[in-house]
């Protein structure tokens, strides 16, 4: 059926919200993986029935789940649902994320900067982000905490680190923020498989032009007053980067303060916060059909992390930044103190672009008219961590 499927990750499970192309009535299914933190779910652009999910828990660690039927059923890759265990030594390594220490694959570093300034070993904690390949449903990237990039080419059954990133000489200067040191953004170039962007809190943005062997920081123009040298090569707390597939050299960034833009693949950034009521926030996204139309949700900080004045407002710029308009119709404009996290905004690709975002209060809001008006399509979920959208044809 043509329509939209919204994949929602929450602190206590995952939900799928589906609708036809009118986007008026929504069917909510879930919770899937009840009680587990679902940092991210994302579908393959090649095969929308293939969906990957990051399931994690402070008790039981990391699990990778995969659906091959559009979310109707799930299994840990390499182990079909309910399948009898194989004889002999089981493989089952879909949740095995081991940092590469082999000298043959680059110059993997063993430590990064810790809160007290000392060097600290890299320790895997969880998968923050899953990014399926644009061409192969069995290839998927994982951004993890402590920050590193992993890749699977067998549908998530096994994972290998893309070690060149952590091998960058700046690695010992990467440091966690209060929320950990996670690699949360992975942008794949739409036509050049050698180029990829990633972002790490709190190290900054990085780019590879050779498929992941070599990486370099792309943080020139960022200015962060919370690090000793505000213009340092690394150390910036980038919250999110977005790109329109028609212009992969134009990047938009929501940083821990400042909304930024680059027109040259990250070589240089300039601030485009303009008239926003707060230039702090987490998500940023681009309209599906208008590469200069972008969306952010301003949030108050330090540490408050709720909307300014208790008004939940999405801001839209139709000029790629600098000039912003508040989008408020259908959103609470008093006594609203929820947050919108970095993974929790996405767009659909229907003719009138739909925008979706989730809140820490458990609401998922949707607009089917490019942000002009909004309505909640789920009201009382657990705190929403991530929102992704599949446009089904």
């Amino acid at each position: 059926m043509a329509g939209v499927r919204v994949l929602v990750g929450t602190r206590k499970g995952a939900f799928t919200l589906t609708s036809d192309t009118k986007r008026e009535r929504w069917d909510i299914k879930g919770p899937l993986f009840g009680g587990w933190e679902i940092y991210h779910l994302k579908g393959s652009p090649v095969d929308p029935n293939r969906i990957y999910a990051s399931q994690s828990s402070g008790w039981f660690g990391q699990i990778i789940q995969r659906s091959d039927d559009g979310g109707m059923s799930w299994h840990q890759p390499g182990m079909k649902n309910g399948e009898e265990a194989p004889t002999g030594r089981p493989k089952s390594e879909s949740n095995k994320f081991v940092y590469d220490t082999s000298p043959g694959t680059g110059k993997p570093l063993t430590t990064h900067q810790w809160y007290d300034g000392t060097q600290h070993p890299w320790e895997f904690k969880r998968v923050w982000h899953l990014e399926p390949s644009l061409t192969d449903p069995d290839t998927v990237y994982a951004g993890v905490e402590d920050a590193a990039l992993f890749r699977s080419t067998d549908g998530g059954e096994t994972w290998n680190e893309v070690a060149g990133l952590r091998g960058h000489s700046s690695g010992p200067r990467w440091a966690p923020g209060a929320g950990g040191m996670g690699l949360h953004t992975i942008l794949l170039h739409p036509t050049d498989p050698r180029r990829m962007y990633v972002a790490i809190s709190a190290a900054g943005a990085f780019r590879t032009d050779d498929g992941g062997t070599n990486w370099r920081p792309i943080n020139r123009g960022l200015h962060s007053l919370y690090i000793p040298d505000p213009d340092a090569e690394v150390g910036h707390c980038v919250h999110r980067i977005a790109m329109h597939k028609s212009r992969p050299d134009v990047l938009f960034m929501q940083k821990h303060w400042d909304v930024m833009r680059s027109d040259d693949a990250g070589e240089m950034w300039r601030e485009v916060s303009g008239n926003l009521p707060s230039d702090f926030g987490f998500p940023i996204d681009v309209h599906a059909h208008e590469p200069e139309t972008i969306y952010v949700v301003p949030i108050k900080s330090d540490s408050e992390h709720y909307p300014p004045d208790g008004k939940l407002r999405v801001y839209r710029s139709r000029k790629g930044g600098d000039e912003w308009e508040a989008l408020t119709e259908g959103l609470p404009q008093r006594d609203c103190y929820v947050d919108v996290l970095r993974e929790a905004m996405a767009v659909d690709c229907l003719d009138s672009c739909g925008i979706y975002f989730g809140t820490t209060g458990g609401q998922v809001y949707a607009s089917s008219d490019e942000g002009d008006s909004w309505k909640p399509i789920a009201r009382d979920l657990p705190a929403v961590v991530s929102v992704e959208v599949q446009t089904l044809t």
């Binding site: 009680g35 587990w36 828990s57 402070g58 008790w59 039981f60 660690g61 990391q62 699990i63 840990q76 182990m79 649902n81 309910g82 265990a85 194989p86 030594r89 089981p90 493989k91 089952s92 390594e93 949740n95 095995k96 994320f97 081991v98």
Partner: protein, 98 residues
């Protein structure tokens, strides 16, 4: 057969209800029982012990016969009632709010 009681979330992952039983070759130790458990239910690999270090996850505990075996060396032989199947080995998740 060694009887093992899993926490509810791991029962879901393993597609079982109630307690499970595993065969152990040789001495029944924490390590040999967990090895057998993961061999029978490979979807549990990495959830009780870290994949790389095989260390017990911090918020899990191993109880048997009213004893806390969590910090015993992995080679420690399990109590006789567990090895004979009279008592189960309990894998317990720490209590927590939120």
């Amino acid at each position: 057969m060694i009887r093992v009681i899993l926490p509810p979330h791991l029962r879901v992952l393993a597609h079982v209800s109630g307690e499970v039983a595993v065969d152990v070759q040789g001495q029944a130790t924490l390590r040999s029982v967990l090895d057998a458990l993961e061999a029978r239910y490979p979807m549990l690999r990495g959830t009780i012990r870290d994949h790389a270090t095989l260390k017990r996850r911090a918020f899990l505990r191993f109880f048997a016969c009213e004893q806390d075996l969590s910090n015993e060396p992995p080679e420690t032989q399990l109590p006789l009632p567990v090895t004979t199947g009279k008592e189960p080995l309990l894998i317990i998740g720490a209590v927590a709010g939120g």
